[in-house]
């Protein structure tokens, strides 16, 4: 009998925070930024409504900033993983032959 698939948390019903890379990290930092910005503004101005506006704006900006920063690093990591995977494959296929990547590298360094 197949096991039931567990429901993941979806913000506003569609953003899957658990399974989307960088989403949880961005939302958490965004929430922290929102609280800091909103509460800080209130401490200085004692204006509730405007502090809420600042809080919401802070949430959006901090989330967006963290999101782009994290996704950029994630993309870099994926590229490095792909290069490593290709090199390992090449090494396994060509080890001991004239196409061995390590042999080529050692040959060029000794010259």
């Amino acid at each position: 009998v197949p096991e039931p698939v567990s429901e993941s948390l979806k913000l506003l019903g569609f953003l899957d925070v658990e399974n989307t890379p960088c989403a949880r990290h961005s939302i958490l930092y965004g929430s922290l930024g929102s609280v800091v910005a909103g509460f800080g503004h209130f401490l200085f101005t004692s204006r509730i409504r405007r502090s809420c506006d600042v809080g919401v704006g802070g949430f959006i900006l901090v989330t967006l900033g963290c999101w782009f920063h994290c996704r950029y690093n994630y993309a870099k990591q994926r590229i490095q993983e792909r290069i490593a995977r290709e090199e390992i494959k090449k090494k396994i296929l060509y080890e001991g032959t004239h196409l061995d990547p390590e042999r080529k590298h050692n040959g060029s360094s000794s010259n």
């Binding site: 698939v5 913000l11 506003l12 569609f14 953003l15 899957d16 399974n19 989307t20 890379p21 989403a23 961005s26 919401v56 949430f59 959006i60 989330t63 967006l64 999101w67 996704r71 993309a75």
Partner: protein, 227 residues
């Protein structure tokens, strides 16, 4: 295949689908933030005590809400166009298969290395064995090699159909009198399902597509090369 009540995308089996999933996550985060802002604006509208509706001269706000959506659209359009052009890259397919839509089954032709032609009908419920998937399994699957670029030529013999396999990020219309082309490279072996995606009559929901992706060495030993 999709599990019951699945709303999100299926796991990727091709590099293009991986890119599509990444783009989908990117667009969804932007959509979430816009929805959050709109919900907050709606909340403010419902709870405001302000009664003066004769408001004018909000030049700064008008500038911001003109330029900001343009920036957001550029942030969405650039990755989208990148993937669009990626799907059209020349990748020198090593294998070509023709897929012809009929009412209500698919015909596949492997003509590169012989003349293998077969029909692929959905398995009727009475013919299902334990473990078979209702409305998805077929009598003859399309067997293809993994990690080899494959070209699909898609057309129809009667009405419009659409050949779709979500996990590969493929959906190509089968149009009578026209030959459409799509290419893909599968990255992992397995059995992958799709369904006809253009309304084509009474049994439109009952003409699925099943791909069986196997390692190249085993594919080379198969009946295609034995012809």
């Amino acid at each position: 295949m999709a599990h019951a009540a699945q709303v999100g995308l299926q796991d990727a089996t091709s590099p293009i689908m991986e890119e599509l999933i990444i783009f989908h996550d990117h667009a969804l985060m932007i959509i979430f933030l816009i929805c959050f802002l709109v919900l907050y604006a709606l909340f403010l509208t419902l709870t405001t005590k302000l009664t003066n509706t004769n408001i004018s001269d909000a030049q700064e706000m008008e500038t911001i809400w003109t330029i900001l959506p343009a920036i957001i659209l550029v942030l969405i359009a650039l990755p989208s166009l990148r993937i669009l052009y990626m799907t059209d890259e020349i990748n020198d397919p090593s294998f070509t298969i023709k897929s012809i839509g009929h009412q209500w089954y698919w015909t596949y032709e492997y003509t590169d290395y012989g003349g293998l032609i077969f029909n692929s009908y959905m398995l009727p419920p009475l013919f299902l064995e334990p473990g078979d998937l209702r409305l998805l399994d077929v009598d003859n699957r399309v067997v293809l090699p993994v990690e080899a670029p494959v070209r699909m030529m898609i057309t129809s013999q009667d009405v419009l159909h659409s050949w779709a396999v979500p996990t590969l990020g493929l959906k190509t219309d089968a149009i009578p009198g026209r030959l459409n082309q799509t290419t893909f490279t599968a990255t992992r072996p397995g059995v992958y399902y799709g369904q006809c995606s253009e309304i084509c009559g009474a049994n439109h929901s009952f003409m699925p597509i099943v791909l069986e992706l196997i390692p190249l060495k085993i594919f080379e030993m198969g009946p295609v090369f034995a012809l």
